[in-house]
Symmetry: C2
Subunit: 300 residues, 2 copies
């Protein structure tokens, strides 16, 4: 049974009854599991984590739009997080027995159905992007809901599906496919923020580091230590163990030790299995040797 | 859905049609998956790896006895591996969503049913053992089929279930519950067999090492290197990463490097996940953060 993860971000994090009603509508779709719901009042935003096969997930996203477009109005929305629409972003993530290509197809179909049924313009992003300048969410979202009408009127910013102007209340949505994202932090046994910042700069893509690392150095004031706070956006191509090793070596150059590392939220088993295989110097290791993977194979 | 592994060892590894007929009978039991079948002609023995829930696995073992006791006769059996019966050993192993206690209960129930239906004496072993001197398979099996009648007549060796004398053709069986066993080897970048042997002696339980490690040093003649060849019999209590680290340090004391390590056959994901967590210095890590584990939780 293939498993896809879907992580819709909606622009409501304060009215708990509205979030509950939206989640409730999603939960009613057979074949879809709601793994997590996190609401952030200061961002005024909630993140749902869903899992299932392609067809039920598409139904779940349509139900989500149905509930969200009738209860969220961006014209009266404020919060600390950039957003373009009532249903702001919907990534599909391949987890097991499914390819990225299948998630791209699901994102594209879902986007077309959303635009047709709810008259919401939709942009495709990341692996599903229709052109390079739409891969990054930040680029699509720049200008936010308030600047959306003007942005959509400029050349190159017609949506991939739906009307050429924003939905009055629900704005626009960004739907796509991406690898699982790992929120990974490494804490250093020092209070020297400059060290954390130098290491973050050394490893992140934007300043010359690894292709699939976003990183910043921050202080954990209450603990008197500093942290290299990261998002790993493709653990197959930029694996955790390599990031850990390089951070450790960079820290040592500054006379600093790694205190510990931590994963925030969920992590795909494959990211840890490949780390163990590397660090234990496992040769000739095949992921099918993992008992649970073998068990989930189709019976031959 | 709880998953139990069951690894019956039968005393037939040469007559492939007999093995195929036995496996076929097991495969017909609904709810049981046959993950692997390995036959060793020189041992004249086959090992089946089954998976499923408790009730279907019990049915599968009864089907296995039905087929094996009518086709295997220990009076004309020879081979390089110690054995007591036609169905020699049947361990149940907790994999997911099931406790060792439940596997002990399943072993005990299955043993009682086997004895009643097939008139084969059964000894319980490992976690299911009825007394300490029956924990180790080697102790129960000492004397083998040929010495069984005499052994059963001595005080302390009445079976846990079934008749007080061997089954004429099928001998006796050993049924129990144990942790998953990991066949783990570490190859050294040297041809010095004495080093591999010294390290094996340092880490194995029988000569003062870790409680759940069996180890020996062997030469890999064709590659010109040596190997510390191990069975890890409880990866929760004696974890892979600790064994790896100690072997590496011991080797360094002899001026030798670890070339690589390898896992033969299957390994539970938890053994690799805990190794990654240790080697990446992950703090506050909860196995429920593994996406696949979370997915297999019951829907709340």
């Amino acid at each position: 049974m293939p498993i896809i993860e879907c992580v819709p971000n909606i622009s409501e994090g304060r009215r708990t009854e509205v979030v509950a009603a939206i989640v409730d509508q999603v939960r009613r779709v057979p074949g879809v599991r709601v793994l997590d719901v996190s609401s952030d009042p200061s961002h005024n935003r909630s993140v749902l984590t869903l899992a299932g096969e392609a067809a039920p997930l598409k139904e779940a996203v349509l139900s989500l739009f149905d509930a969200a477009t009738t209860t969220i109005d961006l014209r009266s929305h404020s919060g600390g997080h950039p957003r373009l629409g009532a249903v702001d972003v919907v990534p599909f993530v391949p987890i097991e027995g499914v390819t990225m290509g299948e998630c791209v197809a699901l994102a594209t179909e879902t986007a077309a159905a959303v635009a047709e049924r709810f008259h919401v313009p939709v942009y495709l992003y990341e692996e599903a992007a229709s052109r390079p300048e739409r891969r990054n969410l930040e680029d699509i979202r720049r200008g936010e809901f308030e600047g959306l009408a003007a942005k959509m009127a400029t050349p190159g910013w017609a949506p991939d599906f739906g009307p050429s102007a924003p939905h009055p209340a629900a704005g626009a949505s960004v739907i796509g496919a991406r690898m699982p994202l790992i929120a990974y932090n490494i804490n250093l046994a020092t209070d020297r923020l400059d060290v954390a910042r130098k290491i973050a700069a050394a490893i992140r893509h934007s300043s010359g580091g690894f292709r699939f690392v976003k990183a910043m150095g921050i202080a954990l004031e209450d603990r008197g230590i500093v942290q290299v706070s990261m998002n790993l956006t493709n653990h197959e191509k930029t694996p955790m163990f390599r990031v850990f090793d390089v951070v450790k070596r960079e820290a040592a150059q500054h006379g600093v030790s790694v205190l510990e590392s931590e994963i925030i939220g969920l992590v795909p088993a494959a990211a840890l299995v490949s780390s163990a295989a590397y660090l234990l110097q496992l040769e000739r290791f095949d992921p099918n040797q993992v008992l649970e993977t073998k068990l989930r194979e189709k019976q031959s």
